[in-house]
């Protein structure tokens, strides 16, 4: 029996290829995502192991306020701390070092020198070591001299002897230094991981980086030989107390690699998403292929039955074939996945200067998942057709008569039931009060079940919808024949179209949600922002970009500028025990007007020192009302603040607004970070923008944008997201095209004699091709229309259900939906090429010859 299966499988290589491809694609993406994460993870581990290669133990102080996303306030170690460390037995050497992020080198074009990692360190030079050595020139000897690391020199073009402008973190102001040396890393590298470093003298570093003479950011501890690091770490902790962090080099490497790995996890999810889509579409493709394969083999199987093979053996035969297809597909998919993952890791590493990709390795999870997914999925998809084949009476199968269409009642009823269940899940998920995870799971399950339900309903919809679509093509005889052919076997057409549907439904749904979010946000910003021009910069480190106050006062005097509101903020802040975002405006009255801040309760007319104004959502989250007091912890101290007013919801200004004097006293820096400008009526926004731009000469980190540009830049993420969704569609399309090709190729094979007769009675080759193309286009249009309907339905229900969560506007992605319809035409025509050529090349004589 197995031998017969193998022979039959080898005899039909095409069908093996087509059904296997779906498995290959799905497994490729899934195993690829694991290889990618693994490779990148090991690359980052290696990077930070290099950085901390020579570090035995490092001592820092615990930051009073921890920021989010890996940002941390610089700590300050005093000389007496170093003395205390030196006194601990087992310490061979303890050096105070200064290393602070935010030493921003300004390029010759008076703009910030771009850096892909966002790491712009300022440090004191402590001498050559194994990792970093002076490449050219010499160490700084006076406080106005600096060395640059190779990466800065390369990215900025500055050379020894030139003057370099650096915006330093302590005062957030620009200072000029003379470049006296260039530092290179071991192995001739410019940097270890793409970072920018400016090296100062110790005194200059304390002044410009920490803003406090005689302090350091950390103590580098060298253990005496023979002293175990764990023991020394314990002794140091005992000596210093719990206000200090004592970490080994290995611990630090791990700690610092973690957030970077986290960022790149995102790409892992994207690839996994592709894998899941590929899998979902792939299941339909495999199911369809096996249905057709079994239909083709019906007579062969019946012959075996007649000769005494049992039903179990029949099913076994089909499942053996499925197992082999699954095994080969999974293996090829795994190999392709390793390639894809390695390529992806390499590509992502290119975006990080200096990151070296770790060697290729295949994580066990990738191997296990490849087979754990690829083989069972193929087996499950093949089981149904196998059972069907086993229950066909042998004599019926051996007759020439085509198996009559079975009624669609059962499948339609079960489709309706499944759709209803999915709808219920979705409804409960969207309207329920469960926790975040429960909601997400319910929504996901709902979507999944709904898709399966709609797929089951496709055969029922096939006849009416296809006959309507088909009318478009009925003007010619080949078109009419093609249309008839596509509704000939509703199950097969439906299952092929369902594969197209799934992909289109998912991207239409996601696009509807994203475009609604975008439209809602645009509307909100539009409504809430009366500014004509916005000055702002991109935040790339814990030091926010700032506008030079002198620039700002010049801007206030530009002809045509009406009002200027500057804002500063601090995110190293805690209100009570929760993280807080604290803002201060230089002109609160103007800010309220420009940002359309309206009073919800209390009095928002004025904010005096010791007072705070909140927006409605922040107040609700913090459980505060007018008159309450709250302890606001800020970098330079804590203060009890009284809530004097609460504003209505705002998407532009949400957080804790305090007075400027409080901000100046408690923020790291109260320099303006963004500014909102209104212009005189009759003035040209473009002309004023140009003047403002010219006046921002001392503010290299910020740019001025018109309101529309600002809105666009705020919504950049959504644009990116919609783009990413389209890539997802590509994958889904690629697989569903395979499905359409598969169906058509097999249909052409099945209808060989019919095609021969048509050619014999005068159908031209071109007409034959047109007939197949119409069939193909009708199937893909059918799937796309269903997908658009289901996707739009899903998207709309999500948007409607989340109306209170900021989805104020429903925006259908009409343009994209139109594009998908066009894509359907292209898919249809493209998928028809191979089968149509096969049909047209058919040898008429062979086709009509008796068997």
């Amino acid at each position: 029996m197995i031998k017969a299966t193998l022979k039959s499988l080898l005899a039909r290589k095409l069908r093996l290829l087509l059904s296997g491809l779906a498995v290959v694609l799905a497994v490729t993406f899934i195993s690829g995502s694991f290889v990618l994460t693994d490779t990148l993870g090991r690359s980052f581990d290696k990077l930070f192991e290099t950085v901390y290669e020579n570090t035995d133990i490092q001592v820092t102080t615990k930051p009073p306020i921890e920021g989010d996303a890996g940002f941390a306030l610089p700590t300050s170690i005093r000389s007496e701390d170093i003395a205390k460390v030196k006194a601990v037995p087992g310490v061979e050497k303890a050096t105070g070092q200064i290393a602070v992020n935010g030493a921003r080198v300004i390029g010759r074009n008076n703009k910030l020198v771009p850096n892909t990692t966002g790491t712009r360190l300022g440090a004191n030079w402590t001498g050559d070591d194994e990792v970093a050595k002076i490449r050219d020139g010499q160490a700084p000897t006076s406080d106005n001299e600096v060395m640059l690391n190779g990466q800065v020199a390369k990215d900025s073009g500055y050379k020894i002897g030139e003057t370099v402008k650096v915006k330093t973190p302590a005062d957030n102001l620009i200072h000029e230094f003379k470049v006296v040396g260039i530092v290179g890393n071991s192995g001739g590298r410019d940097s270890i991981g793409g970072e920018h470093i400016v090296f100062f003298t110790e005194k200059a570093a304390q002044e410009f980086l920490l803003g406090a003479p005689g302090t350091y950011s950390l103590i580098d501890v060298r253990a005496a030989s023979g002293v175990p690091l764990a023991t020394l770490q314990k002794d140091l902790r005992a000596a210093l107390g719990d206000q200090y962090l004592v970490e080994t080099g290995a611990e630090l490497a791990k700690k610092n690699a973690a957030p970077l790995k986290q960022i790149f996890k995102f790409f892992n999810y994207v690839l996994l998403g592709f894998g899941v889509i590929a899998l979902m579409v792939g299941i339909f493709l495999i199911l369809n292929t096996f249905s057709i394969v079994v239909a083709q083999r019906t007579r062969e199987l019946a012959l075996m039955r007649a000769m005494g093979a049992g039903r179990g053996q029949m099913v076994g035969s089909v499942l053996t074939e499925a197992f082999i297809v699954g095994l080969i597909g999974s293996t090829l998919g795994l190999l392709a996945g390793v390639g894809l993952g390695a390529l992806g890791a390499w590509g992502l590493a290119q975006t990080v200067d200096g990151l070296e990709v770790a060697g290729l390795a295949v994580p066990p999870a990738a191997i296990i998942l490849a087979f754990a997914i690829g083989i069972p999925v193929t087996l499950i998809a093949a089981l149904m057709p196998a059972l069907k084949a086993a229950f066909i009476p042998p004599i019926a199968a051996m007759r020439d008569a085509a198996t009559a269409d079975r009624p669609l009642t059962w499948i339609t009823i079960s489709g309706a039931v499944v759709t209803l269940i999915g709808g219920t899940f979705l409804f409960l998920g969207l309207n329920g009060t469960g926790s975040g995870t429960t909601t997400l799971l319910l929504v996901l399950a709902g979507v999944l079940v709904l898709l399966v339900g709609s797929a089951l309903l496709t055969p029922f919809l096939c006849r009416p919808v296809v006959s309507v679509i088909g009318r478009l093509f009925s003007w010619s005889v080949p078109g009419k024949l093609g249309r008839r052919n596509s509704s000939r076997n509703p199950r097969r057409t439906a299952i092929t179209a369902a594969a197209v549907m799934i992909g289109i439904a998912l991207v239409t749904g996601i696009s509807t949600i994203v475009s609604s979010v975008e439209a809602s946000a645009t509307k909100a910003i539009d409504k809430q922002l009366a500014a004509d021009l916005v000055i702002s910069g991109e935040q790339t480190s814990e030091i926010p970009p700032t506008i030079d106050p002198a620039d700002l006062s010049r801007i206030r005097n530009i002809d045509g500028v009406d009002r200027t509101v500057a804002v500063t903020y601090e995110f190293f802040a805690k209100a009570g025990d929760k993280d807080a975002f604290v803002l201060a405006y230089d002109d609160w009255a103007a800010a309220r007007a420009v940002l359309h801040l309206e009073q919800e309760s209390g009095n928002i007319g004025e904010i005096a020192p010791g007072q705070v104004v909140l927006d409605k959502n922040t107040a609700k989250d913090a459980n505060l009302k007018v008159g309450d007091t709250v302890n606001l912890q800020l970098p330079k101290g804590a203060k009890q603040m009284q809530v004097v007013g609460i504003t209505k919801e705002s998407d532009v200004a949400n957080g804790w607004t305090i007075s400027m004097p409080d901000a100046q006293a408690l923020f790291r820096s109260a320099a303006p970070i963004s500014a909102y400008l209104t212009i005189d009526s009759g003035a040209s926004a473009a002309a004023v923008k140009k003047a403002v731009d010219a006046d921002l000469r001392n503010s290299p980190e910020v740019t001025v944008q018109t309101r529309d540009e600002f809105v666009d830049s705020q919504l950049f993420f959504f644009t990116f997201l919609i783009g990413a969704v389209q890539v997802l569609l590509m994958v889904a399309i690629a697989i569903s095209v395979l499905g359409v090709i598969n169906t058509l190729v097999l249909s052409v094979l099945e209808r060989t004699r019919e095609l021969g007769m048509l050619r014999a009675i005068g159908l031209r080759r071109s007409q034959t091709m047109r007939m197949i193309t119409v069939e193909s286009v009708v199937i893909s249009l059918f799937g796309t229309l269903l997908g658009l309907g289901v996707g739009a339905g899903l998207g709309i229900s999500v948007v409607k259900a989340l109306k209170d969560q900021g989805f104020s506007t429903l925006a259908m992605p009409w343009g994209l939906m139109g594009a998908y319809l066009l894509a359907a035409l292209v898919i249809g025509v493209g998928a028809a090429v191979i089968p149509a050529v096969r049909a047209a090349r058919l040898n008429v004589l062979n086709a009509i010859a008796y068997e």
Binding site: A402, L481, M757, L758, I761, V844, Y850
Partner: protein, 260 residues
């Protein structure tokens, strides 16, 4: 065998046609120097044992297969050397087919199947002629049925009507009764003979059934790729005798060649 042409002229003819498959050891000669002329408005049957080349001859005549040597004509049109497009055009306008397996399109109704060759060629059926054909084959009340709802005999009558409705110069019927019981077969054959008598339709039929051949005006016998004999106004008995004769006397090339 020349000189048998009726006054009405020739509908199709072959001139010294050879058909050779393969080469060297595996070479098979399917037709050896076959020259036949098929009279216009006549019902001609081609007979012969399996492998005699009768189907090959018909395929060559119908423009479905190319010849190795020699020439094929339908009316005055020379088929030899035509490309696929021209042959397709010819099949559309001048040739009709009836197959053993009926070969109807299951997606179309009986009426649509009948008018299919005309539709493909972009022609409108002549209503009066269509009605005549339908009434002759007796399918009036079956026009809206699909092939699966028709019996074998009915299906083959639909196929006959499909061939007739385009009024081709020649209809080629390949074992038209091979899949039918004797009653349905007789109906179809009677119908074919009537269309020759009443409408002057030319029909060429390949068969190995002496009874079917007895409906024809003339029977041409093939053996080993060559024309070996022929009969006019045959009966089932005379055909059977002739066949026995051919099978007993191993067909000789010289005999076939001598007869020309």
């Amino acid at each position: 065998m020349t000189g048998t042409i009726e006054a009405t002229g020739t509908a199709a003819r072959t001139v010294d046609v050879w058909k050779v498959y393969g080469s060297g050891e595996a070479q098979v000669i399917a037709l050896r120097s076959v020259s036949v002329e098929l009279g216009k408005g006549k019902f001609t049957a081609i007979m012969g044992p399996s492998g005699s080349g009768k189907s090959t001859l018909m395929h060559c005549l119908a423009g479905l297969d190319s010849v190795t040597r020699g020439e094929v004509f339908i009316g005055d049109t020379r088929l030899t050397g035509m490309n696929d497009k021209k042959l397709t055009e010819l099949r559309r306008t001048k040739v009709g087919f009836i197959f053993q397996q009926f070969n109807l399109l299951p997606t179309l109704t009986a009426e649509e199947n009948i008018t299919l060759p005309l539709s493909i060629a972009g022609r409108k059926p002549d209503k009066a002629w269509f009605d005549t054909v339908i009434d002759t084959v007796g399918l009036r009340d079956r026009l809206k049925h699909r092939p699966t709802q028709l019996s074998g005999g009915q299906q083959q009558r639909v196929a006959c009507a499909r061939a007739l409705v385009a009024r081709p110069e020649v209809i080629f019927a390949d074992e038209p009764t091979g899949n039918l019981d004797s009653k349905s077969g007789a109906e179809v054959l009677g119908f074919l003979r009537n269309s020759v008598r009443e409408f002057g339709q030319t029909i060429v039929m390949v068969t190995h059934d002496p009874v079917a051949a007895s409906y024809a005006d003339r029977v041409i016998f093939l053996a080993d790729g060559a024309v070996v004999s022929e009969l006019f106004e045959p009966t089932a008995d005379t055909v059977l005798d002739k066949l026995k004769n051919i099978e007993v006397n191993a067909p000789s090339l010289t005999k076939a060649e001598a007869q020309q």
